[in-house]
Symmetry: D2
Subunit: 295 residues, 4 copies
Amino acid sequence: MNIAFIGLGNMGEAIAQNLLKGGHVLTVFNRTKEKADALLQAGAQWAATPAEAVERAEVIFTMVSDDGALRDVTTGEFGFLPALLEGAIHVSCSTIAPDTSRQLAEAHQQRNTVYVACPVFGKPEAAQAAKLWLCTSGNEAGKAKIKPLLELIGQGVYDFGEDVGAANVVKLSGNFLLGCAIEAMAEAFTLAEKNNISRTAVWTFFTDTLFNSPVYKNYGKLVAEEVYQPVGATPALIRKDIRLLLDEAQKALVPMPFGQIVHQQLTATVAKGVKDIDWAGFAGEVSENAGVSKR
Amino acid sequence: MNIAFIGLGNMGEAIAQNLLKGGHVLTVFNRTKEKADALLQAGAQWAATPAEAVERAEVIFTMVSDDGALRDVTTGEFGFLPALLEGAIHVSCSTIAPDTSRQLAEAHQQRNTVYVACPVFGKPEAAQAAKLWLCTSGNEAGKAKIKPLLELIGQGVYDFGEDVGAANVVKLSGNFLLGCAIEAMAEAFTLAEKNNISRTAVWTFFTDTLFNSPVYKNYGKLVAEEVYQPVGATPALIRKDIRLLLDEAQKALVPMPFGQIVHQQLTATVAKGVKDIDWAGFAGEVSENAGVSKR
Amino acid sequence: MNIAFIGLGNMGEAIAQNLLKGGHVLTVFNRTKEKADALLQAGAQWAATPAEAVERAEVIFTMVSDDGALRDVTTGEFGFLPALLEGAIHVSCSTIAPDTSRQLAEAHQQRNTVYVACPVFGKPEAAQAAKLWLCTSGNEAGKAKIKPLLELIGQGVYDFGEDVGAANVVKLSGNFLLGCAIEAMAEAFTLAEKNNISRTAVWTFFTDTLFNSPVYKNYGKLVAEEVYQPVGATPALIRKDIRLLLDEAQKALVPMPFGQIVHQQLTATVAKGVKDIDWAGFAGEVSENAGVSKR
Amino acid sequence: MNIAFIGLGNMGEAIAQNLLKGGHVLTVFNRTKEKADALLQAGAQWAATPAEAVERAEVIFTMVSDDGALRDVTTGEFGFLPALLEGAIHVSCSTIAPDTSRQLAEAHQQRNTVYVACPVFGKPEAAQAAKLWLCTSGNEAGKAKIKPLLELIGQGVYDFGEDVGAANVVKLSGNFLLGCAIEAMAEAFTLAEKNNISRTAVWTFFTDTLFNSPVYKNYGKLVAEEVYQPVGATPALIRKDIRLLLDEAQKALVPMPFGQIVHQQLTATVAKGVKDIDWAGFAGEVSENAGVSKR
């Protein structure tokens, strides 16, 4: 297939490589061209604007930082929406508000094109290994057509129906659940520490036994050792996601006390100017409030 | 070995059976004798009081409902402490306050006997299958001596050192982490529901992928389906555990915002008179506050 | 002076009457004309649109329900902004977001007119008695010119400087502080009730002594007696204000745990469909969670 | 009357002086004798132990730091309970747990003596000026007999009935309400500060108008200026009171989210080692989490 890929951060670049390896024709665009070097060497074409990138594309993937960036590349001054071929399918992988998906889906439909929400779960290494977990929602025909492409980039696809915003709700919920696991472990490990019990011993026990899932193991290690490097995503970035979640909760009339606390911890982290750490480092707020801060 | 077992609830009875199967001589005591029937048929001896139960025992297991009950069988009117053989080891499996362990350990030491904390993780079925996870703390020699017995009842033993209260801190932390997972899923699933996304679909996705540990799978199923049966432990019982945790946090000067919220939800559940459900049913508070209560 | 008044709810009508009594020429507009009857009988002129209302006005007061309504009457299809006389001053009394004030102030300035923020504190009876408390911010010359008018409607004016959004921040903070007082009393009175102490006795004591301010006295009476009538403002309306406050907190990076709780209680109240009560009725959430709900 | 007074801190000494000025015969005891100097010069008698102090007393006042200290002077080794004259009335002014009052009341009754709870509200200056607010509960005859004495030390007495713990619940609730006012102002003033609005201007406005009660004025000034001197009561001391309140809430099944937050803020303050400030200084936690700490 003729595919366009827009947004070549760590995640986007890895996904694009897997599409290329699948034997598809790929045209790419990114704000800074250097990020495209490896892809161009591997056979991808460069486009000077989002609009140029999609000229011949049957399917367009986007993986950008937030709602504003997605609107820019789609409906902005050099956005690709007016340039889309009839019937083209936009696979939107960014973590954004459900309403942004709904509005863009309508804008696509008015031009006889299709917008499918397809947020992804996994770190850059998982993206490289084609081991992402994918959530989809939106137009059924569109989802059916892109299925073979999604199989090139992920280890599983879960569909959440025709409301195109649904997969975005699930993605935001995922980051929320991660945040809750981090806060819960931070509280438990800090209580252990102040009882002279090794944080790492507690982490080992729980993640060997009851909580033996990769996210508890991996994020828990950061919280146990209080080393929040390397930076997978910054506190400010995930704080934005949690805010999007709380915006949905506000509209849907769902009190989310855990959501509020995770947001407050991230807000305090950002307000104090702590930024060069992985977002799991908001766990440091718990230590700080218990008088045993390592920061 | 000659072993005494005191406290034959669902958990205690299952553990005692596995000790018996291991070829040991077992004397048992329980407040209500009927609970002992199966064990007596399998070859255990009955004792009329805790004191009588321990007369010849090298090792004494206790598995009772709370701190008060443990004090009763140990230092109460018919308690076994004065009747212990010199060098006898008390393996205390109940979920209790760390300070109760510390005080009892001292009382045992004064009588040249040993108290080891050994709280367990797992449901009754896990106890039957000898698949419990065990945490130990306290006297090193005592722990070494009971090691072969613990291998008969669990699938793994994690030690937390010589401070006898440490394993109790870990046990309370475990129930806290479970409570956090329940609240987090309740918030996420309720947000999904109010966005017309199936609670069960969200549960399936997350517990197939990022949160694929038994506790998310099992407790999450209850929260997703909002059927809180059968009753593993009541809201009132686990509320007691969370309160013990918060008492530790209070003493150790650790603010635990998640802990407070889990406690508040359990308190509201109990205050409203909801009792014939598993404790995970406190998740119903989230639904109720979002106006979609099933209760 | 020639004055226009737009928005004749309970508050607006009372304020307009006091301006009229001050001897000024008044033209009024409201979505439903009946609300203007008393004013028209007292000598005010009716205008068919906001634009028509301001044609000769030196000063324009607006008192509408929210940000959207204010934008409608100002920059909407029949909005008055294009119709303003040069130098006209818009006194904006509604409870709105600071950024709405900032944007409108700029829009006014581009047309050589002036926008002053002037949110008010007080119930309709206080408005009738010209006993409102007024907060102002924005253009200094504009504020100086309207001073005599403000003295006709309030018992005191507090200025918060040239940033036109400042008075709106203060207004939102006021509703937040009221919400906190309500929640705090709800918790204290419910604890008293469950200790068999009269809620009213506790209210009497505290509001006679340490907390002898009108807001504790008046809102506290509602909370003590659990009769949330008559409806001064609905839970949904003030929930909107608290959300605006939290939006500011989010932008300014200020964790506000009390703000989050007040918002959650109001959200639960609205989600449960409770609406024909004064907003102080969110205090009923505390009773409900303690198992002593009167609803 | 022949009166004994035990506990001569800033509060106790001031109360005792007013009793002496009322023309009564006063015998005093304090752990450190120097605190009694002024009273002895003014005509009071010194007693070497609590027991000696009460030998001839018809009424005994106690004003000590906590539950433990009160038990010490009453039922401890040198405690006065066995030495009381038949019919003597113990007026217990300390801030303690309701159950401590209930237990001591029963102990007094068994010796044909009377225990009345009489916690007080006010700072040392109010005590000197005989302007305290007094809450009473317990035996009706006892309360009637001490009425004239209470009028010497306070400006008003509020009674809460025969359950002797009731006045203690009210006292704990008072400290809770103060804590809530402090936290609420801290959040509002910090939001103002980060919007470049003067904290003091906001404090002036609210405490001149809606919240014009002494406690908002006085505590609010500390929070506005962020100068937490002089030390009226330490964070650790009032944290103990809030914990007693939460213990009551726990027993009475009342979720108190504001109570939990005030306790967490005080816990963080104490955990960080901040101690030489007035307890209102826990407001600094809000500033710290917003990145604008002055500490």
